[in-house]
């Protein structure tokens, strides 16, 4: 055997576990003998050091509470962020919101048909059941209301005020207010009284 022994082979030799070939190499090789002796010295030194009293931990050298709290704080923030994100972006529409949205769409569709398709105006008028609705619609239509449309509103207002139907507020219509025709406004208020 001409090649020098590896560290593990030297270690196993120190543990009394090696082949005859390795032993004979160790006896004949100066470099390996020195390495083997060095291993023994190191082991004795390390063992001596560890046989002394174990080192104490110094409380003052511990990292401040702030730095040790960081991982937990980060975790809490992440959890809050996930919950917020879920409620903000991924929450499906509630049934009541969906229904309201459908109502608005349907109503606007009817209004649109009333404006752009004269034949269906009557249907829109009959679909509106209260005076307030009609008045609001009229106000919303403003100057764009055709003569036929105005006449229809007048008739409907008369009929509904006489039957004393409770007015219902429709905020989404008032939100879309347009410039009101003063003559129309005056006429509506007279009729309502």
């Amino acid at each position: 055997m001409t090649q020098c022994l590896e560290d593990k082979a030297l270690f196993l030799l120190s543990e009394g576990e090696a082949s005859e070939e390795q032993r004979s190499h160790l006896q004949g090789c100066q470099a390996c003998t020195e390495r083997y002796q060095e291993l023994g010295r190191d082991l004795r030194f390390i063992t001596k050091t560890l046989e002394q009293e174990a080192p104490l931990r110094v409380p003052a050298s511990r990292s401040p509470l702030f730095y040790r709290s960081l991982p937990i704080a980060a975790g809490v923030l992440l959890a809050i962020g996930i919950m917020w994100g879920e409620s903000r972006f991924w929450r499906p529409n509630s049934p009541s919101e969906q229904a309201q949205s459908d109502d608005i769409s349907e109503f606007l569709e009817q209004v649109s048909e009333a404006i752009f398709d004269g034949g269906n105006v009557r249907e829109v008028a009959t679909a509106s059941s209260s005076a307030s609705d009609l008045a609001s619609l009229q106000v919303a239509l403003g100057e764009n209301c055709s003569d036929e449309c105005r006449e229809l509103f007048d008739n409907s207002l008369l009929a509904t005020t006489k039957s004393k139907t409770t007015p219902v507020e429709r905020s989404f219509v008032t939100a879309r207010k347009r410039p009101v025709d003063p003559a129309m406004q005056h006429m509506v208020s007279d009729r309502a009284e």
Binding site: D7, F11, L43, F45, K48, L50, A54, R57, R62
Partner: protein
């Protein structure tokens, strides 16, 4: 046959307490935890003492129980990272009269390097190293106590020795 003093529980405690304490301090990072574990070990010893089925060798029995207690403590103490992480190793100050001239010559920095390296070893590597070199047990005894094969003991030992020697050489180079 144990003599009269060491046969009493107090006698056994007096004889073996320093060793148990040292083992616990070596295998556990926290000194308070080491003290607690030492107390647990002597509680077990007391129970064993009361049964009167005494082991042939109290020293070996205590070493085995201590190593296993420290092993269990380390396994169940993951959460203690919270209160004990990032502590710095610092050698304890002891009266110089307890140190041999050889110990006095050991460089303080080098000792800290070695202790750091020892703390970096895995729990199993620490146990194997302590039992084999500090306690002077045979590979077979270590394997039997830790319930692992002799081959595993040698592998753990080699890795531990390699790491410690590397640190020692780096410390010399500094």
């Amino acid at each position: 046959m144990p003599d009269k003093e060491s046969a009493s529980f107090e006698g056994l405690y007096k004889v073996h307490h320093p060793k148990v304490r040292r083992l616990c301090r070596m295998l556990l990072r926290d000194s308070a935890e080491a003290e607690e574990t030492g107390q647990e070990v002597f509680l077990k010893m007391f129970k064993q003492y009361q049964t009167e089925s005494w082991p042939d060798d109290w020293s070996a029995w205590l070493t085995r129980v201590t190593v296993n207690a420290c092993h269990d403590r380390r396994k169940s103490a993951w959460w203690k990272w919270w209160r004990s992480s990032n502590g710095e190793v610092q050698l304890a100050e002891y009266p110089s009269s307890t140190r041999t001239p050889e110990q006095e010559t050991l460089g303080r920095e080098q000792q800290i390097h070695i202790w750091h390296a020892f703390r970096e070893l895995s729990g199993r590597q620490q146990e194997v190293f302590v039992l084999r070199y500090v306690e002077g047990w045979s590979t077979e005894e270590v394997a039997k106590t830790l319930a692992i094969s002799e081959g595993s003991v040698k592998n753990h030992l080699f890795r531990a020795v390699h790491h410690l020697r590397k640190t020692l050489k780096n410390g010399d180079a500094l």
